[in-house]
């Protein structure tokens, strides 16, 4: 069995398209981190440190004083809201919710803006930025999973199935090894990339701001996830959803691979099944999205599924992605086995 698994992994990782995909993914990841400026990060972390703790009206007023734009700045910005052109994420965060375009207080209290939610202030900009880098990586990983998995069964229909199905373990251990490798290869790749990102993020940001709420963020992350969770919780979900997205994608692709008689067809159909749900114009608030949102593309796209509902505290609707992924994986394995083991060679 171990030998078979080794060979199945070798088949996956020896494909040129897979190697190119991994290389591209490395480039996307590295470029995301290269765009970060360490001096800016340090400055933002120092600013955030001054207001650490739960956001209250006093802190808001203090921030409005501290981040009040000068007349020269307002003149230079030509009437644009401070929230857009703020010099720091804190300035953008406070001005986007509590100030008019000219920087004066808009009269709203913390309760007016956030209701009863306790908003933990801290350095969340870096983590939110990391989250976006991870979305790009996860999307690439899901597509790479399709490239890895589509030929698992479909590739064999091009002739080697004759040999496999007439061999002793062709309909049993071989299929088990194939499905095992189909999950192991992308999950292993995802784990390496996730670990790489985590290490890089900890090296760049430290642990500062992991307890900060994602809600009190700069304008560019307003409504990214409109629920009061910490950056740590957000990243935990994101890591989970990357894996669940990959698992579900592999499950679906395995079934497609067993049904299609050519790897190219399997690749195209699997890619379409993955991408097409993004074209449905169903909003996160609509009940139908609770179903559509569980499709793998929304696992990796992350923010939409994370925005559906907060069940309680750290528990979000997105947890349903995990049983959905498990169900798809089981269905994919069973269908794959059924179709491949019982097909007649041609």
């Amino acid at each position: 069995m171990r030998q078979l698994l080794k060979f199945e992994l070798k088949k996956i990782f020896s494909r040129r398209l897979v190697l190119v995909g991994i290389l591209l993914l490395v480039c996307v990841n590295v470029s995301g981190f290269l765009s970060l400026n360490m001096a800016d990060i340090k400055y933002e972390q120092e600013l955030a440190g001054k207001y650490e703790g739960v956001l209250d009206d006093a802190k808001v007023q203090q921030m409005l004083i501290d981040f009040k734009p000068t007349k020269e700045q307002l003149q230079m910005w030509g009437g644009l809201s401070v929230a857009y052109v703020g010099t720091s994420f804190m300035q953008s965060a406070v001005h986007s919710r509590f100030a008019r375009d000219d920087g004066s207080w808009n009269g709203k209290t913390v309760a007016d803006v956030f209701g009863d939610e306790k908003i933990q202030v801290g350095y969340n900009e870096g983590w939110l930025n990391l989250s976006r880098i991870l979305v790009r990586m996860a999307l690439g990983l899901a597509l790479l999973s399709i490239v890895m998995t589509a030929p698992v069964f479909a590739g064999e229909y091009e002739g080697v199935d004759n040999i496999i199905l007439t061999s002793r373990f062709g309909r049993s251990k071989c299929i088990l090894a194939k499905t095992g490798a189909a999950f192991a290869a992308p999950l292993l790749t995802a784990a390496v990339f996730a670990a790489g990102n985590l290490v890089a993020a900890l090296a760049v940001f430290g642990t500062e701001g992991l307890d900060a709420s994602v809600l009190f963020s700069s304008l560019s992350y307003n409504n990214y996830i409109p629920l009061n969770i910490s950056c740590g919780t957000m990243l935990l979900y994101q890591a989970g959803l990357i894996f669940s997205g990959v698992i579900m994608t592999v499950g679906i692709t395995l079934a497609v691979s067993a049904i299609c008689r050519s790897q190219l067809t399997a690749l195209i159909i699997s890619a379409l099944v993955f991408i097409l749900p993004m074209l449905f114009s169903v909003m996160e608030k609509e009940p139908l999205f609770k179903l559509i949102g569980l499709l793998p593309v929304y696992h990796v796209q992350f923010s939409s599924l994370m925005s559906v509902a907060q069940i309680s505290g750290k528990l979000l609707f997105a947890v349903w992605a995990f049983p959905a992924a498990a169900a798809a994986a089981i269905a994919g394995c069973l269908l794959g086995k059924r179709f491949f083991a019982s097909h007649e060679v041609s």
Partner: protein, 297 residues
């Protein structure tokens, strides 16, 4: 071992590829002979269990093979027509992979794979990627993989296709040495290969078995029906239109030696000669669309 085919039928839509076929094979080498579309490949796939019969059954020592599962597969060795490989694997890796599929223990797999690579003349190329192999080399690798598990039933579909004469001789010797106490069923268009290797020949046409027996037995009916004569080339060409000709050879003096199939003496001076398998083949398949490879020798 006794492999029995009981009233086996395979239909693809309205086309019947194997038509109520029944026969029994025991240890020995059996050669399937027939034109393209005769049903040879389908019959072999049915025996291997990679196609399901429309009707009928196959039994091994009285036990239905469809219910034997891994036990039956463990006895099988199969070389498919147009055998496919993983181009990025080396020859040795591919055989080791097939060893794993066949349940050969890792400690024996390397030894067995290298031995067979030597037997088929690919020892030096064992670490080369298959994508660099010629058609003949791939065919030899296909033969090696079929024999990895020392199969009790070896099914070879067109094993000599793409092999040069030296490789074909090597293959014949390999099969002869291997075939003791086993069932070997092979099909080929190359009539001379069947003649050399097979102890028993099974002639197929339109999904049915026409004749079975050793070369001498099945060619006996052709005694007195095969003629040889030497004629000027122009006359020989005219005669070739009138009769099925199994061989035509020009001589240095401008004449042509014809080998004619005919129940009657085709012309004065023609002499009867000992019939061979090609004569029989031509006699049965003269109505079929002529396939060039059928007469390759």
């Amino acid at each position: 071992m006794k492999l029995q085919i009981h009233n086996l039928t395979k239909k693809y839509g309205t086309k019947t590829a194997v038509d109520h076929m029944s026969f029994t094979v025991e240890n020995g080498v059996y050669g399937l002979l027939g034109a393209n579309g005769a049903g040879k490949t389908t019959l072999m796939r049915l025996i291997c269990g990679i196609q399901r019969p429309t009707a009928g059954k196959i039994t091994l020592d009285g036990q239905e093979v469809s219910g034997m599962g891994e036990e039956y597969c463990a006895l099988l060795g199969y070389l498919p027509q147009n055998c496919a490989f993983y181009p990025d694997f080396t020859a040795l890796d591919f055989l080791l992979y097939v060893c794993a599929l066949k349940g050969i223990e890792a400690k024996n797999a390397g030894k067995r794979s290298r031995l067979l690579l030597r037997e088929v003349g690919l020892e030096k190329e064992q670490k080369q990627k298959i994508k660099t192999f010629s058609g003949g080399m791939k065919q030899r690798l296909g033969i090696a993989q079929a024999m990895l598990n020392n199969p009790g039933i070896l099914i070879l579909d067109e094993p000599t296709a793409g092999l040069d004469p030296r490789e074909r001789i090597r293959f014949r010797n390999l099969i002869s040495a291997f075939s003791k106490n086993r069932i070997v069923i092979l099909s080929t268009h190359i009539v001379s290969d069947i003649e050399f290797i097979a102890g028993e020949i099974m002639m197929m046409k339109n999904g049915r078995l026409l004749k079975t027996g050793c070369t001498g037995e099945i060619t006996a009916e052709m005694l007195g029906k095969v003629w040889e004569c030497t004629l000027p080339t122009v006359q020989a060409e005219k005669l070739a239109v009138k009769y099925p000709v199994s061989n035509m050879r020009n001589t240095e003096d401008g004449n042509t030696v014809l080998r004619i199939i005919s129940p009657q003496k085709p012309l004065d001076g023609a002499k009867t000669v000992q019939p061979n398998l090609e004569d029989l083949y031509l006699n049965y398949f003269k109505e079929e669309k002529r396939d060039e490879t059928a007469f390759e020798i």
